[in-house]
């Protein structure tokens, strides 16, 4: 009478991309020395195309609604994936958008941030771990709510890199 396994995982999509990417990397290794020049790995809405040229590996990763290499994402049930650079949780804990209760959030959607700027906090056992933007740009979407429990590498917000 067990329920089907439930993942409290960040994003199915992201997992899928990672799985496909792992598979692709594995294939690249196995193809070393062969004459195969181009191949693609596909699962769901995620597709990776790899073209090998004289010692150079050019990878093009596409995900539902992303670049032209993806298969048609019909968006059934799920909205198109947000674009932008993901800012991920550095560890398991509670995500806070502000330095203390009642204070103004570190960032809001639309704000411009510099690389290295603190954009949130993940608290684990009363230790406050700052989350910093690793790129500068504009906060395009905040995905995690204040006070929400997050997993390792869960995407907290997206940043549209500057320039």
């Amino acid at each position: 009478m067990n329920e089907p396994p439930k993942r409290t995982s960040a994003s199915k999509n992201q997992e899928l991309i990672r799985a496909v990417w792992d598979e692709a990397r594995d294939l690249v290794k196995r193809l070393e020395g062969s004459t195969v020049q181009r191949f693609s790995v596909e699962a769901g809405d995620t597709k990776i195309e790899i073209e090998r040229r004289a010692g150079v590996v050019v990878a093009d990763v596409g995900s539902g609604g992303g670049s032209g290499t993806t298969s048609a994402a019909d968006g059934a049930g799920e909205a198109a994936v947000e674009t932008g650079h993901p800012i991920q949780a550095p560890l398991v804990g509670t995500f806070y958008r502000a330095g203390q209760p009642g204070a103004a959030p570190f960032v809001n959607e639309g704000d411009t941030v510099d690389a290295g700027q603190t954009v949130g906090i993940v608290e684990a056992m009363k230790l406050m771990n700052q989350v910093q933007a690793d790129v500068g740009g504009t906060v395009s979407k905040i995905l995690a709510e204040d006070g929400q429990w997050v997993e390792f590498e869960q995407t907290l917000m997206l940043i549209e890199p500057a320039g």
């Binding site: 396994p5 997992e15 560890l91 398991v92 684990a124 429990w149 997993e151 390792f152």
Partner: protein
């Protein structure tokens, strides 16, 4: 009984614990690092939490992430498995502070038995036999000289905080003592952050014999017989069996009762193992106590008809032991376990990480495989190299060996770059000395030099 148990481990033991939980009607929560996202336990458990990157320091050893995962998922208990944080009293204490039942002994008890010098004192007081030596740490070289002269060479210097075969030196003659005393202390400080050492008589040939026990919180304890783990290489066990053919019924009862008495005398609760050396005259000497479930627990399960993990969970939940001493004795038949590791025996057992293209475990009567592997699973370089524990049972030792050989031959494992210990196990099982049961802890070393000599002669 618990409602939900978080399993703070990975690999086969995490799956083993999750299976026990399901049979007990308890929900299980797996935790996983990025490298283990596709692991068997993540699929099997009722929930799974991504706790960190592959490096253990930021995942399976990272206490805040484990506690965070337990609190978030509402787990009321935590099973530490073996290795990782299973014998860390600080971790057990934090679990208690957070209202999570740690499935193991109380932190203060764990600390006492984890300190080898203290454990020796306590067990001596409880009447367990010890090798001649010290129960107090040896603090100066002068003291070391006096003690060594007293107990006679060869002596062994051991780190109080040591384990896994590290932090010990054998001294065969007096002139080596100052040097080895200093280097053992320095190693102990570097590896275990505690330079304290103790000394005892060194037995050149002995058998590794250990008693499995479980104690409940109602003052009852049961010993589940012994295991012989003499087939080991550099203190890493390769083959374990139960029972030991070198213990008489009387000795088993005597030492088993003493082990339970010793454990209860320190307020021990949960599953634990007391390690002994058995000399060639049949005398047992207490070595140390392991405050956790062990890798080789299945052989004891098969000869006692007991699910030790379920028993461990039950007593942690405050229930009484479900088995009595009379239920488990006499031990039934003979069980053997081979550890199938992703290692290359021809290259000094170097780990061989890689993806498993083929993984077909053996089946058939009285054949058990505890493993987290499946075709396509990646044996990761980040963790230990255990692929599977192959365990067989038969009415007697000879038949168990035959069955193990059959099962090993059936086991198909392959992958690019992956080598396993299966061929090595087959050669050991085929060796007349192993068949006769006359195996001491130096057997593998002799066996390997014998093979090397034969190979050299043939070339």
């Amino acid at each position: 009984m618990f409602e939900k148990v978080l399993i703070a481990n990975r690999g086969e033991i995490a799956l083993r614990v999750a299976r026990a939980c399901r049979e007990l009607g308890i929900k299980s929560v797996a935790v996983y690092s990025t490298a283990d996202a596709e692991s068997a336990v993540v699929k099997f458990a009722d929930e799974a939490v991504h706790i960190g990157p592959p490096a253990v320091g930021r995942s399976y050893l990272h206490i805040p992430s484990l506690i965070g995962a337990a609190l978030k998922t509402g787990a009321d208990a935590l099973h530490p498995g073996y290795g990782f944080l299973s014998e860390d009293p600080y971790f057990a204490e934090i679990c208690a502070d957070e209202g999570i039942t740690f499935i193991g002994p109380r932190p203060d008890v764990m600390e006492k038995v984890g300190d080898k010098a203290t454990a020796r004192q306590l067990m001596q007081a409880a009447g367990l036999p010890l090798l001649p030596g010290t129960v107090e740490p040896v603090n100066t070289i002068d003291e070391a000289h006096d003690i060594a002269r007293d107990i006679g060479y060869p002596v062994i210097i051991k780190a109080v905080a040591g384990g896994g075969g590290r932090g010990m030196s054998v001294v065969t003659q007096e002139e080596d003592l100052p040097r080895l005393y200093q280097t053992t202390r320095a190693t102990a400080q570097a590896v275990f952050k505690d330079s304290a050492v103790y000394m005892e008589r060194y037995l050149e040939t002995s058998r590794h014999t250990e008693i499995q026990l479980v104690c409940d919180a109602h003052g009852d304890g049961v010993y589940f017989g012994e295991r012989d783990c003499s087939v080991q290489r550099r203190h890493q066990k390769l083959i374990e069996e139960a029972p030991s053919i070198h213990l008489t019924e009387e000795t088993r009862k005597e030492v088993g009762e003493a082990a339970v008495r010793g454990a209860l005398s320190v307020g021990y609760t949960g599953a634990g193992t007391m390690e002994f050396l058995l000399d060639l005259d049949g005398n047992l000497y207490f070595m140390e106590m392991n405050a956790r479930i062990q890798v080789e627990h299945p052989v004891s399960e098969l000869v006692t008809d007991t699910d030790l993990i379920q028993e461990q969970i039950r007593v942690a939940a405050g229930e009484k032991l479900s088995r009595t001493q009379d239920d488990v004795l006499p031990l039934k038949g003979h069980a053997i376990e081979c550890r199938i590791n992703a290692e290359d025996p021809d290259k000094d057992f170097a780990p061989t990480a890689g993806r498993l293209d083929t993984y077909v475990p053996p089946g058939g009567p009285w054949t058990r495989v505890d493993s987290h592997c499946y075709p396509g699973w990646m044996i990761s370089p980040f963790y230990d190299s255990l692929i599977a524990k192959l365990i067989v049972w038969a009415p007697d030792r000879d038949k168990a060996i035959d069955r193990m050989i059959r099962a090993l031959q059936e086991f198909e494992i392959s992958g690019r770059g992956v080598k396993t210990t299966i061929p090595f196990h087959l050669r050991i099982l085929d060796h007349p000395q192993f068949r006769s049961g006359d195996v001491t802890t130096d057997f593998v070393e002799h066996f390997m030099s014998e093979e090397a000599a034969a190979a050299a002669a043939a070339s």
